[in-house]
Amino acid sequence: MRRVLLVFGIGFALALIGGWLVFPRVLYLEKPQPFDFFHKTHAEKSGLTGCDSCHVVGSDGQFAGIPRNDVCLGCHSDKLGKSEAEALLVDNYLKQGDQPEWLIYSQQPANVWFSHAIHTQRAGLQCVDCHGNYGESDQPRVYEVNRITGYSRDIWGHSMSRLRRAPGDGMKMTDCEKCHRRHHIEVGCLGCHQ
């Protein structure tokens, strides 16, 4: 009988290890960004304070997202410093005139409609409330994509158990709902889907 329990226990334990430690590594695939980008450097060196100095919301409420080359060209018309990233930016993109294909950590799927304008203007949310303080990131973040769904890992969040998550870590529908429920905001499915 003891042997039975032992063998059972071993199987049990192996399953736990596999499920919690190995599975995430198999499920998610790391992808490289076009080149390293440091929010912190920009904040310090160029005195670009506040996200909206690059990530602007238009008068009609459209969010421009990641700034296009012309914004970068404001300063990077030619190389600033010797870094490899700088060289890549200027030579491969700004000079050629094609946009870097950034992998967006908080990219929501095509069936989601999210308006930054409504959340910042009407609800008065700060960028950090949802995105965390990327502004202080001083090393490039890893971008991981779910092999099955193609979603960024940030959507589910980095802890598989979804416990103890920092803001910006985990942007599932349930996370939106949590906040909406807290503020008694009722929107139908198509309030946030398209």
């Binding site: 042997r3 039975v4 063998v7 059972f8 226990g9 071993i10 199987g11 049990f12 334990a13 192996l14 399953a15 736990l16 596999g18 499920g19 919690w20 599975f23 995430p24 499920l27 238009g58 459209q62 969010f63 421009a64 997202g65 799927p109 095509a110 069936n111 779910n146 099955i148 769904t149 193609g150 979603y151 589910w156 598989m160 158990s161």
Partner: protein, 556 residues
């Protein structure tokens, strides 16, 4: 201790129990359903902010005002321009899906010589050779454009002939042109002032002329009123969409509309319903009635209906002179609400001359309808953006598609006032393509460049100081400080409107009652009907609903 089969079973049982307490089954279950929501083989719309620009539709000669929504550099939506003076915010059904046409499977992006792939240099050489050997014909489907000037001068320099193919609506005006000596392209209908419109089979509510112009007019003055300000009488064998909504539908027997016209003429004159004492058809009322398959009483009643609520104008679908003559009797020529003469700012063109075998080569501009095939033994160079199939042309030359070409749009057919619009190329022109004008300039660099000609036209309009520019709001040309400013407005989707029609100076005199002539598209041009290249979404109309019949189902 050795590992037995029993242990394996128990171990597996343990693992199975354990896996339930890991994310594996639950995350997989979730992710697989999410996968089913984003199947990789289903296209995803592009990201990126949306810009809206104004332009004009170039699918046909009507040049309706368009509002184009662009995302990530591609048009993603088309709508009309509200209170656009000509189209009143309306487009034809095809217009709303026109931005899909550039990806149509029939898109032409390769020079073809008698069916085989070829290249631009070869085509160029071939045309140069042809020009050297003999006179050539250059055929233009939309005269009056900046490009037309290039084509015309090229033909002139090569003592070839420049020829035009007029659209059906303009063709329908040909008889009056013949009787008044004014070119058809200078004539139009003053619909806004008409109170009774008698249409002999013209699809007035179904994409006739500039669609928005009449549909809005009809909607405001006729629809749903038992005694409408604007009476639409549709004379047509079948219950067409127009006939279905007309104030009155007269089901005339197929191909006997000239007989009905004759009958009406007799009633009008004999019963002194009109002042005119013009010539009369030989046919008696009785004979005509029998031919048209209508009781005399109804014809008489129809004649009365035509005059009791004037001004009245008769519109034909195919320029049958016998029918057109009714307008002369009704005095509907050069009068308000009738056939009228446009103000004289834009260059006017001779009636359609016809290609004949004597030309060494014939060059067809992309504006020439695909199904028109010139009767010539010589080489045919055809420009087209889409391959409609069954082409007899020796050379198929890919031209820019929708929104890929800078062009100007002169006065729309049937319009009584002159208009001028510029459609800029919102999309980059594919390098595989050339317009006829670009192609000819490769052969003769001295030819005018379209961009320059457009500039010149704007200068000209600015000089004349006639009319107004509409771009958001209306502003008289005279109030523009410079031609450049005005041109800028036009290039941003504005439209120039000329002066009101000069009616007094248009007169038609009829010596004898005209004999019927066959439908007046250039007689010796064969028209082999090929299903038009439509936006794929048009299939909603004829395949997924019963609103219309499939194009292939229409008679050749």
């Amino acid at each position: 201790m050795k590992f037995s089969r029993r242990d394996l079973l128990i171990g597996t049982a343990g693992a199975t129990a354990g896996i339930v307490f890991t994310p594996v089954p639950w995350k997989l279950l979730g992710d697989v359903s999410i996968w089913s929501q984003n199947w990789p083989w289903i296209p995803q719309p592009a990201h990126g902010p949306i810009e809206t620009t104004l332009s004009a539709c170039t699918l046909c000669a009507a040049g309706c005002g368009m509002r184009v929504r662009m995302a990530a550099g591609f048009p993603v939506g088309i709508s009309g321009v509200a209170n656009h003076p000509l189209t009143k915010g309306a487009l034809c059904p095809l217009g709303y899906a026109a931005h899909q046409l550039n990806w149509h499977p029939a898109r032409l992006l390769q020079v073809r010589h008698s069916g085989r792939a070829s290249s631009w240099p070869e085509a160029q050489a071939a045309l140069a050779a042809a020009c050297a050997e003999g006179p050539i014909a250059v055929v233009d489907g939309r005269p009056g454009r900046a490009a037309s000037l290039t084509l015309e001068t090229f033909a002139a320099k090569r003592n070839g002939s420049y020829q035009t193919v007029l659209g059906p609506e303009t063709q329908a005006l040909a008889p009056y042109a013949a009787w008044s000596g004014v070119p058809a392209s200078a004539l139009g209908y003053d619909l806004e002032n008409a109170r009774t419109i008698v249409s002999f089979g013209a699809p007035l509510l179904d994409g006739w002329g500039t669609p928005g112009r009449f549909t809005r007019l009809w909607s405001a003055r006729a629809a749903g009123q038992s005694d409408p300000q604007l009476r639409l009488i549709q004379i047509e064998p079948v219950l067409s969409h127009t006939a279905a909504r007309a104030w009155r539908w007269v089901a005339v027997r197929e191909g006997t509309q000239d007989a009905l016209a004759a009958a009406l003429a007799r009633v009008l004159v004999e019963e002194h319903l009109v002042k005119a004492q013009g010539p009369l058809p030989e046919m008696t009322l009785e004979q005509a009635a029998v031919q048209a398959g209508l009781p005399i009483a109804e014809i008489r009643d129809l004649a009365h209906a035509m005059v009791e609520h004037g001004p009245t104008v008769v519109i034909t679908s195919d320029g049958d002179p016998a029918v057109a003559a009714l307008n002369v009797l009704l005095g509907a020529i050069g009068t308000p609400g009738g056939i009228s003469l446009k103000s004289k700012v834009s260059p006017q063109h001779g009636a359609a001359s016809t290609a004949s075998a004597k030309f060494r080569a014939t060059l067809l501009d992309a504006s020439v309808p695909w199904d028109l095939i010139p009767p010539t033994q010589g080489e045919v160079f055809r420009f087209a953006a889409w391959d409609g199939g069954g082409s007899k042309a020796d050379w198929l030359l890919p031209s820019p598609g929708f929104l890929e070409e800078l062009t100007d749009i002169p006065t729309a057919p049937t319009s009584a006032t002159e208009t001028y619009t510029i459609a800029t190329n919102l999309l980059a022109q594919p390098q595989e393509t050339q317009t006829a004008a670009q192609f000819l300039r490769k052969i003769d660099a001295s030819l005018a460049d379209v961009d320059k000609s457009i500039h010149a036209r704007c200068e000209q309009i600015f000089q004349v100081k006639l009319g107004t520019i509409y771009a958001g709001q209306t502003k008289p040309v005279s109030q523009f400080e410079s031609a450049a400013k005005m041109e800028e407005q036009l290039r941003k989707g504005g439209v120039w409107l000329g002066e009101s029609p000069r009616n007094a100076t248009l007169h038609c005199t009829l010596k004898t009652w005209p004999a019927t002539s066959a439908p007046a598209s250039p007689t010796d041009w064969t028209s082999s009907w090929a299903p038009p290249v439509l936006p794929p979404l048009a299939s909603k109309l004829y395949q997924e609903s019963t609103v219309r019949e499939a194009p292939a189902g229409r008679p050749a």
